[in-house]
Symmetry: C2
């Protein structure tokens, strides 16, 4: 029988828990709202305990909202660190789950998890250098370089990249509490809603100028990703990308901004296959958490 | 006796050739001006042939100006590709050297080579995720993520990153023939010289406003590097960085632009040890070429 893995997609507002196998098939999903660790974590543990009693899990994986400490050599490995969600500041989420189960527990950021999910079962299969970006309430990114997840000093925070902002065209100051008009400040869901005074980004009609502006900001960020990391593919998901024509507006702007500097057919001729929506749709995150479990179980040095 | 390695720092205007050992000690340096492959490459080969006859070399390494094809699986691996130096367009530099010597020949970009040199003997020893940037005639960067050199679709071209440009403060349009006001367009040596009408950037006095502006552009680029790759250290060299107080002007601007978003003492308290000049000084490049030879000889999977 296939090994069974448990995944925890630990988002800032809800935790998705599910089980799955190496085939990528997901089962038995549950959504737990996020309040405090004392309330939320016991529900997560109970959910997996019930499964584990009937069908033993081989490993668990946590793909957590951040910032986190993803460095296994650090004393704070597996902690959520300086989050604005104060009940979770410096919370050892990995420790809490490890204490409750005598099986391996994998851990990474939510976006690195989603990237790993796409690597196992989605759009990044067979690649070794790619980026996964989500554009929603915030903008986050993770990915892999030459077969290794990007970690470093802490982990990427690409959403806060600084990009050109034409104040004449777009006098909106941005919503990022740290930087104002960084990428997240200008192009996240809350930025779009506040700039155009709507309650949902999808309330804006397809021909609204909001989308050309948004596509331009995303293209600026994506060319910086391309120039900095030379990814073989960029996967872009999140709630804002649900706008049906946004990605196809981004594509020509990326080519245009690169101005022929990078002469590679993948970009010049196949941009629509180079910057793509997640292959796993809305499941990148939970699949990623399961992929983290699988990786931890294998003790694999890949990724 | 220590193995002897040969290194070729293949720059756009001159090739530096030298030999060295695993200790990082360099010897017997020669500079060959770059004209055409037909003229330049035979001089390189003759130089190493003469050494090789007396003291056999174990391997050679080439750190080449680009763009290059650094993908060993590609048919054009080891070629200089779409360079504006037309005599070198699509030139198989790796093949030319390999044909002349029956020893392993390593190959990478000039900046990835320099990064590897700093990893072996300079400021990046013991790290696994860092960036090496050179600010001179152009702006280039290479580096390592989780122990692997950054390659991907092609290789990084961070110099062409797009950063905020306040046209009111700095109406200069930039010198990049592709993008105008990308990082290289605004902050390379030629950009500084053209903006301020000087023949050498070091003609500008230390209190000239040029340096505050330059420090700001570099800080913008560096925070994007930090946010995208989370490097454990950034090494920044090249001719422009010879201005004695430029780096110390960059440091507080980086902290300021990050606005407390990344809470790590390495950045908040030790920025002067986080963004540093090359440990190998002007030798990062040639040491890097020798490190590429050493790596190829070892057949090592690291980096």
């Amino acid at each position: 029988m296939s090994k069974l893995f448990g995944g925890i997609e630990a988002g800032g507002t809800k935790f998705i828990c599910a089980v799955g196998t190496a085939s990528g098939k997901i089962d038995n999903r549950v959504v737990i709202p996020v309040t405090t660790p004392d309330e939320t974590i016991p529900q997560v543990i109970e959910y997996f305990k019930n499964i584990h009693l009937k069908t033993p899990l081989s490993a668990l994986g946590i793909a957590a909202f951040g910032p986190v400490d993803p460095n296994p050599a650090s004393a704070r490995f597996g902690h959520i660190t300086s989050t604005l969600k104060l009940a979770w500041t410096n919370y050892n989420i990995l420790g809490a789950i490890k204490d409750a189960f005598d099986i391996p527990v994998g851990f990474d950021t939510d976006v690195n998890g989603a990237a790993l999910g796409e690597y196992r079962w989605g759009e990044a299969q067979g690649l070794n250098t790619f980026i996964y970006i989500t554009v929603g309430t915030g903008i986050g990114a993770g990915g892999m370089v030459s077969g290794k997840m990007i970690h470093g000093l802490i982990h990427p925070e690409m959403g806060h990249m600084h990009i050109p902002h034409d104040h004449k065209r777009d006098p909106f100051a941005g919503v990022c509490p740290f930087h104002g008009n960084c990428l997240e400040g200008l192009a996240s869901g809350p930025a779009i809603m506040k700039r155009w005074k709507v309650d949902s980004v999808l309330d804006l009609p397809d021909n609204h100028e909001a989308w050309e502006l948004e596509a331009g900001y995303l293209a600026s960020a994506l060319i910086n990703c391309i120039l900095m990391l030379s990814p073989q593919k960029i996967i872009i998901g999140g709630g804002v990308m649900k706008q049906p024509n946004l990605l196809s507006r981004v594509h020509p702007k990326v080519v245009d901004l690169l101005s022929g500097y990078i002469k590679h057919d993948t970009i010049l001729k196949n941009i629509d296959k180079y910057i793509v929506l997640p292959g796993l749709g809305l499941n990148s995150g939970i699949c990623g958490a399961i992929a983290l479990a699988e990786r931890e179980f294998k003790g694999s040095l890949i990724a």
